[in-house]
């Protein structure tokens, strides 16, 4: 009965968001989120594609814009974890796409930020990326990581403190 009820409430006709709309609206956000944890770009795009593959083959679709983004990022977090786990078992491939000289400073800063995020607790780093890169509200972040708004605010506060401490030199370099 429960399964039946789930299926009946998931009628695509009742969904606000269709699959193609999902992809149109949130591709950039998901990629931004993924690339905070995964590089090089090709790998980040692979993980993003895998995220959408998982999401789009599901019978269930979220019914609101906010729910959709939180849900996609939840899927993305799992794909990122998978990727990181798999990468540990793979040899590192050599890449020929060397950055230009004028990009290096920016890349170095980005890499440093990602390194800091990688060392932080997963929930904290994910929440920070959602807030500062994607501009999500605490409520939306909470939906994605499965916490209440209050708990999410607390998480963000702790994460921000840790990040600020570790990224002190980077922050001082900024104008």
């Amino acid at each position: 009965l429960k399964a039946s009820a789930v299926v009946l409430t998931d009628c695509p006709l009742a969904s606000v968001t269709t699959q193609s709309e999902l992809a149109d609206q949130f591709l950039a956000d998901v990629l931004k989120f993924v690339c905070a944890f995964i590089r090089p770009k090709a790998d980040a795009e692979d993980v993003t594609a895998e995220t959408f593959r998982s999401a789009l083959t599901s019978l269930r679709l979220p019914k609101s814009h906010q729910e959709a983004r939180a849900w996609l990022l939840k899927v993305a977090r799992r794909r990122i974890a998978d990727h990181v786990r798999q990468r540990k078992r793979r040899p590192v491939s050599t890449r020929s796409d060397e950055p230009q000289q004028d990009q290096r400073n920016s890349l170095a800063t980005g890499a440093a930020v990602r390194a800091i995020l990688a060392e932080m607790p997963a929930d904290q780093s994910a929440a920070l990326v959602m807030k500062y890169s994607l501009g999500m509200s605490s409520e939306e972040i909470g939906q994605s990581i499965g916490r209440s708004v209050a708990a999410t605010n607390s998480l963000l506060q702790r994460g921000r403190a840790i990040f600020q401490d570790r990224a002190q030199s980077l922050l001082e370099d900024l104008p």
Partner: protein, 493 residues
């Protein structure tokens, strides 16, 4: 003093500065199913739900309904698994050159050479191909986008096995076209003895165009159903690709999937089972023309065994689904080869946790040998799951052109039981080796049937010798006793 959020945000902007490339957008577009199919799937699911609802009202509501529901879902997925052929081509020297082919019955798992499971799920493969993701093709028909995880072990196992079989493989890693692409790795295995060559694509992250054509066996003919470009770039656009199927056009993949869904929906029968149900195989096989699927709901870790008429355990199953991923851990077939009975960890590509969904496939021909069997729990400390058995009366057409020969090979499975029919303990590892051997023989039969038969006979003889000496067949014996002899035979030939 805390820095303003704008400063932190500026740092995050530099860490997440990527925009989706055109290629990524294409990949995502290709993943978006057409709405008609989605609606069909929804109607199908709704219909199944309505049936379940009705059944649950008529009969006592038991957990078995859940098993039936799972089975419906499994069946729905199985419906998308037609018999499949995959041909791949590379654009080299100004033309499309064939680089590989594999055949599969589409809904089975194959064992790899080191005894681990290899993934072979057509639906997954199709999506991956559509997604222009990485592709791995190996001789035993593995297609996966897990490049350097367990699949490279498959490849190594394959190479090792070829060596054991008397080949003299020359392995070239990535040397041929690595310079043309960014990270293309190609493994070529050349048998200097026979002049055969197998090409393995390890990584498609390349500028060299690679194209894959999937074909399904429909009404006795191979019909191209999907063409997928693995690599992007202008070179892929021209010249016009001509698959090796003159007079046939690529048909609509969604239509094909729908066709299979309809067929399976019409023909699948579901039989809820209780613990220790005696299953009369002859009756099942009379009904079934294709796969028999065993589904269950239950705890995350469950164990069961199939018990034959003589009380022997033929197959023991331990389910340990791992976070929604296909990751078999404790499958231990007690019969050799793992080809007659094998387990399929089935968890749909669904971001919601569904760790309890497991499907076990039993091949009908193997069940015929048993006559009847019982589903029984192996331990009492685990609640026994609810089971359901489905019979796909339609059957999935087998694509192997050498089916009859393969069927003969299955006789090898009988070696695993002594003349009294008792199972031989502690030997599943050798069973895995035999599974490898089956793969070799099956492939070998295509190119040299007589040699493969001879090799089989030799192996059978060696096993008999070992038993007559009171030795347990084990990997060491296989490794140090039989293989050199087999190689000697091959050399002599």
């Amino acid at each position: 003093v805390n820095p303003p959020d704008t400063k932190i945000q500026a740092l995050f902007d530099q860490a997440t500065d990527l925009e989706p490339s055109d290629l990524l957008r294409q990949r995502i577009d290709s993943l978006t199913p057409n709405p008609a199919k989605r609606n069909f799937r929804w109607l199908y699911a709704t219909g199944a739900a309505a049936l379940l609802l009705t059944a649950s009202l008529i009969t006592t509501l038991t957990p078995r309904a859940d098993a039936a529901g799972l089975l419906q879902q499994a069946g729905q997925n199985a419906a998308n698994l037609p018999s499949l052929r995959c041909n791949s081509y590379a654009f080299r020297n100004g033309k499309w050159e064939p680089i590989g082919e594999y055949l599969t019955s589409g809904n089975c798992f194959r064992r790899s050479y080191n005894g681990k499971f290899s993934e072979l799920q057509t639906r997954t493969a199709r999506y991956r191909a559509i997604g222009k993701d990485r592709i791995l093709m190996t001789k035993n028909g593995t297609l996966s986008n897990n490049l350097m995880g367990h699949d490279d072990i498959h490849l190594e196992g394959h190479i090792e096995f070829l060596k054991k079989m008397g080949w003299n493989p020359t392995v070239v890693w990535g040397s041929r076209i690595a310079n043309e692409g960014r990270a293309l790795k190609v493994v070529e295995i050349t048998d200097s003895r026979k002049g055969d060559r197998e090409t393995f694509w390890i990584d498609e992250v390349t500028k060299l165009p690679v194209r894959v054509v999937f074909s399904a066996l429909l009404n006795g003919a191979w019909t191209p159903t999907l063409r997928s470009d693995i690599s992007p770039g202008p070179a892929v656009e021209s010249p016009e690709f001509q698959p090796n199927f003159p007079g046939q056009e690529i048909i609509d993949q969604d239509a094909l999937a729908n066709e299979w869904e309809k067929k399976l929906a019409k023909t699948t029968q579901i039989l809820p089972l209780a613990d220790n149900t005696q299953i009369n195989v002859s009756e099942l096989t009379r009904l079934a023309n294709g796969d028999i699927i065993l589904a269950y709901t239950g705890p995350s870790v469950s164990k069961a065994r199939l018990v034959g008429q003589d009380g022997s355990t033929y197959y023991r199953i331990a389910f340990e689904p791992n976070d929604g991923r296909i990751e078999p851990r404790n499958a231990r077939p007690l019969r050799p080869g793992g080809r007659d009975f094998h387990a399929l960890w089935f968890t749909p590509a669904n971001p919601e946790p569904t760790p309890k969904q497991v499907r076990v496939e039993l091949f009908t021909h193997a069940m015929r040998k048993l006559g009847s069997f019982t589903l029984a729990p192996t331990s009492t400390n685990q609640p026994f799951p609810e089971w359901a058995l489905a019979i796909d009366a339609y059957g999935l057409a087998h694509p192997m052109p050498y089916l009859s020969l393969e069927a003969k090979l299955r006789d090898v499975a009988d070696w695993w039981r002594d003349p009294q029919g008792k199972k031989i303990e502690g030997s599943f590892k050798l069973g895995n080796e035999l599974g490898s051997w089956f793969d070799f023989a099956r492939n070998g039969l295509r190119r040299d049937p007589e040699a493969a038969r001879e090799a089989i006979a030799t192996l059978r003889e060696m096993m008999a010798d070992a038993r007559s000496r009171g030795e347990d067949p084990n990997p060491q014996l296989f490794e140090f006793g039989w293989i050199p002899r087999l190689q000697k035979e091959a050399d002599a030939r």
